[in-house]
């Protein structure tokens, strides 16, 4: 990696581009242009498959784009009308010429396209759509999106959703590390999209439908949850925090949260935070 400190060009560039964002919204750290080249930290077990595929495509793309550039700039230099006065009279229908064209088309298809489609299909079946089975111990969470808030519902001690002992949190999603989390999403009003940049995934929350998603965190900490689908004026404010605890801390939080959740609860007022019964599907 190029170091920023020693590069005069980047220093100059940064002089013109020093961050002028309102200090009220940005932490004290000064960022440089170089920070834009970094992906958010991957904290999931499945994110690496997406990163791998991304890098694979990038490598081939660099190769093919370099070919285009060599052709474009090389031919522009070599066959400038001052250097090459007499053009070659060919329609490109000779057998060799057609073969070259066809081979280029096929090469792109075989090296990138069909490979990434197959790899992506495999990843989908092996990981992203391979939801935890019924018997597996998973953290189940129901998410209701609305303008402009995320509501997260844990089942509570009775392990049943849509009962009075559910733990409902707004804006904060608490999960334990190293445990599969299955999420069911819906929306009350418009379409939202549940976006976890650190897990490299997102899924739409749609009114009238329940969509689902699973992931497993590999480290503790606080990370961003964003709404990725335009959902109105305050779309940009529709954020939540993903708080990942060690397993024993999570258990402690669960106990505490259940106490708070049932404190002063009116059992007849269920609609206040609506959930739905969890259905196992495969």
């Amino acid at each position: 990696m190029m170091s920023y400190e020693n590069n005069i060009f980047l220093k100059l560039l940064n002089y013109f581009l020093s961050s002028r964002v309102n200090p009220a919204t940005v932490s004290a750290r000064e960022y440089t242009l170089w920070d834009s080249f970094k992906l958010p930290e991957d904290i999931s077990t499945t994110g690496k498959y997406i990163d791998w595929l991304f890098n694979y495509i990038t490598l081939w793309n660099i190769f093919y784009f370099a070919l285009v550039c060599i052709g474009l700039f090389g031919f522009s230099y070599l066959y400038h009308h001052k250097r090459n006065k007499v053009p070659l009279y060919t329609h490109g229908y000779k057998k060799q010429q057609l073969a070259v064209t066809f081979i280029i088309g096929l090469a792109v298809f075989l090296t990138i396209d069909i490979f990434i489609a197959a790899k992506s299909s495999y990843d989908l079946k092996a990981y992203f759509w391979n939801f935890p089975s019924e018997n597996e111990e998973t953290i189940k969470i129901e998410v209701a999106a609305q303008q402009w808030m995320w509501t997260f519902r844990h089942a509570g001690p009775d392990n049943e959703f849509n009962t009075v002992d559910d733990i409902v949190t707004n804006h904060d999603l608490y999960i334990p590390v190293n445990k599969k989390v299955e999420i069911r999403l819906t929306s009350k009003d418009v379409i939202h999209s549940f976006y976890l940049p650190n897990a490299r995934t997102k899924i739409d929350a749609m009114p009238g439908r329940i969509s689902r998603l699973w992931f497993e965190a590999t480290k503790t900490g606080v990370f961003d949850i964003a709404c990725a689908e335009m959902c109105g004026t305050n779309h940009y404010k529709m954020q939540a925090k993903l708080i990942i605890y060690e397993q024993k801390d999570y258990q402690e939080w669960l106990t505490q949260a259940h106490k708070i959740a049932t404190y002063g609860l009116d059992p007849d007022h269920k609609e206040f935070n609506w959930g739905w019964p969890w259905r196992n599907e495969k």
């Binding site: 960022y31 285009v68 064209t101 489609a117």
Partner: protein, 575 residues
């Protein structure tokens, strides 16, 4: 069979000549002005958006306090939503479409195929006037009490139903799109009929310039898919105005429930072909210009035409890749992913043929040629970045991020805009009888090229870093605060790009009145429009030409008449 229009006397009154003209050349120019006007409006909106992203909370300089007096010149969040909604709508439907399809489609099709006018001149005139009505509705919506549409150019329900957009702006938006759809369909039918029935005698489909191929395939896609969009927005109007629930679901659907995803299917069945509707004319124009300025025949012209046809067919079968995150059935997801991948075969053939065309040519770097080479460069970037988005798993991460924005701007904005500018410099002498300035043309090219690569390349980077779309202030998220310098860079590039259009505007207007008089064939090219004077007479051709060879006969070593090209009306000189 070839149909021929009779020669009508040229109109004499001002109204008949410039306003209610049925002459395809005048209508083409009307669409050009219309498109350039909206390009300016949409471009200004883009600058307001960029300003907000780079300097959140700071007033927009000079005109900010006039536009937004209540916030002392700062763009308010709801206005920001309107800006990106209308920027998308205006650029796609009111700038790119009128310039590429409306202006060059109208101007070029009859002239390049040797016809005296479009098949249906009255329909042609109506198509422009209806487009004006639509533009007025759209701009008028900005002055409504709650402002214009603000649900994104895709207008997904339920945000675009009364649940999310109570103002009349969204209804006006739907109406404007519906009316514009009528205009586009009229134009499309006209183009298809003209190309099929009015080609000059002797001109087979493969004797048509590739420009015509691009415009013709575009017209076919338009005729099939614009009505689908019109149906979608009509149902949306019903939901908004008459209380139906086609697209309503969730807590808001009190009287029965529809499905918002249905709209996405309808929208993208149209929306994906729309991408090709915009790019196909540019591909055709670029394929021709590269050959003309390399002074050699277009390499594999038939393969280029057939690749464009293949892409036209495939474009109708891949729309589902816009909806991977809606969790379609696994079968659909994998099918759409695989079908999307097949598009890269014809695309790679196009690139091979473009490079084959300039290979061993005698390249002249006039402005149209520079713009065409620019298209090959930026479309390379745009096409290759599409691979990440057509793959379902990487799309889960990149969907609705700036990576998508960067990608489609490279394909739809950068490529099409450069292609459109190239076409403007190329046909300007024929349209207005004067030459544009070469020096300022080149300044315009390099300025635009640097500017747009800075903008859209920067967008790819911030998207890769996870920044998602349509955010008024992205820096409320911790993980995006590091992207502030890059957003600043993109905004400077956008301002630079905006400034780079000033030489074009000056050049265009100055050359209109003061440019050197153009000869009939300034570029030394053999297609039919260059056989008639610049600008052509109202009826184009006194006698309908008879076509005897292909459009790209340049550099034939056996030519004896002192020219290095031959007109399409001349018998092919054998090798």
């Amino acid at each position: 069979m070839t149909y021929v229009h009779p020669i009508h006397p040229a109109p004499t009154t001002f109204l008949k000549k410039y306003v209610f003209s049925m002459d395809h050349k005048v209508i083409g120019k009307q669409f050009l002005w219309y498109g350039i006007f909206f390009l300016g409006v949409g471009g200004m909106m883009a600058l307001l958006i960029r300003w907000t992203l780079a300097f959140p909370g700071e007033p927009f300089p000079v005109i900010g306090s006039i536009l937004f007096p209540y916030t002392n010149g700062v763009v308010p969040p709801d206005t920001y939503s309107m800006l990106f909604t209308l920027h998308g709508t205006i650029m796609i439907f009111y700038a790119i479409t009128p310039i590429l399809i409306g202006a060059f489609g109208n101007y070029c099709i009859p002239l390049l195929i040797g016809a005296r006018d479009m098949a249906f001149p009255l329909l042609n005139m109506l198509s422009f006037h209806i487009a004006v009505v639509s533009g007025v509705i759209l701009l008028g919506s900005l002055f409504l009490p709650l402002g214009g549409a603000a649900g994104g150019w895709t207008s997904y329900p339920t945000l675009s139903t009364a649940v999310g957009s109570p103002g009349a702006g969204q209804t006006f938006w739907c109406l404007a799109i519906f009316v514009l759809g009528v205009s586009s369909t009229m134009g499309a039918i006209n183009y298809i009929t003209t190309v099929i029935s009015f080609r000059a005698p002797g001109m087979g489909y493969f004797d048509m310039p590739l420009t015509i191929w691009g415009l013709w395939l575009t017209a076919i896609l338009n005729a099939i898919f614009i009505p689908v969009l019109s149906a979608g927005v009509l149902l949306l109007i019903f939901d908004r105005v008459f209380g139906t629930t086609f697209f309503l679901a969730g807590a808001a659907a009190t009287t029965g429930s529809g499905d918002p995803i249905l709209f996405q299917h309808v929208f993208w069945i149209f929306g994906h072909p729309e991408v090709y509707i915009l790019i196909l004319p540019a591909w055709g124009i670029v394929s021709d210009i590269l050959a003309f300025f390399s002074r050699k025949p277009a390499f594999g012209a038939k393969a280029t035409a057939l690749s464009m046809t293949a892409i036209t067919v495939l474009s109708t079968l891949v729309y589902g890749h816009h909806m991977f995150t809606t969790q379609m059935s696994p079968l659909l997801t994998q099918t759409f992913m695989t079908l999307t991948m097949t598009i890269s075969i014809p695309s790679a053939i196009l690139f091979a043929n473009w490079l084959g065309t300039i290979w061993k040519g005698s390249l002249r770097f006039d402005t149209p040629m520079l713009f065409s080479l620019g298209v090959v460069f930026v479309f390379g970037l745009g096409g290759l970045t599409g691979l990440y988005l057509g793959t379902a798993t990487t799309d889960f991460y990149l969907h609705d991020t700036y990576f998508v924005v960067g990608h489609f701007h490279y394909t739809m904005a950068a490529s099409v805009l450069l292609g459109g500018f190239g076409a403007t410099y190329y046909w300007f002498p024929k349209m207005f009888g004067r030459m544009m300035n070469e020096f300022w043309g080149k300044v315009h090219f390099w300025g635009s090229m640097i500017g747009l690569n800075g903008i859209f390349g920067g967008m790819l980077l911030v998207g890769y870093a996870g920044m998602h779309r349509r955010l008024y202030n992205p820096f409320v998220y911790e993980f995006m605060q590091s992207l502030a310098p890059m957003n600043l860079f993109i905004t400077w590039a956008a301002l630079f790009m905006g400034a780079a259009q000033l030489p074009f505007l000056w050049n265009f207007i100055y050359s209109l009145y003061r440019g050197p008089i153009a000869e009939a064939n300034p570029w030394k090219v053999g297609t039919l429009e260059w056989t008639v004077p610049s600008p052509p007479k109202t009826h184009n051709f006194d006698t309908i030409p008879v076509v005897k060879c292909g459009p790209h006969e340049l550099g034939n070593p056996n030519l004896k008449n002192g020219r290095d090209f031959q007109y399409q009306t001349e018998e092919l000189v054998k090798i």
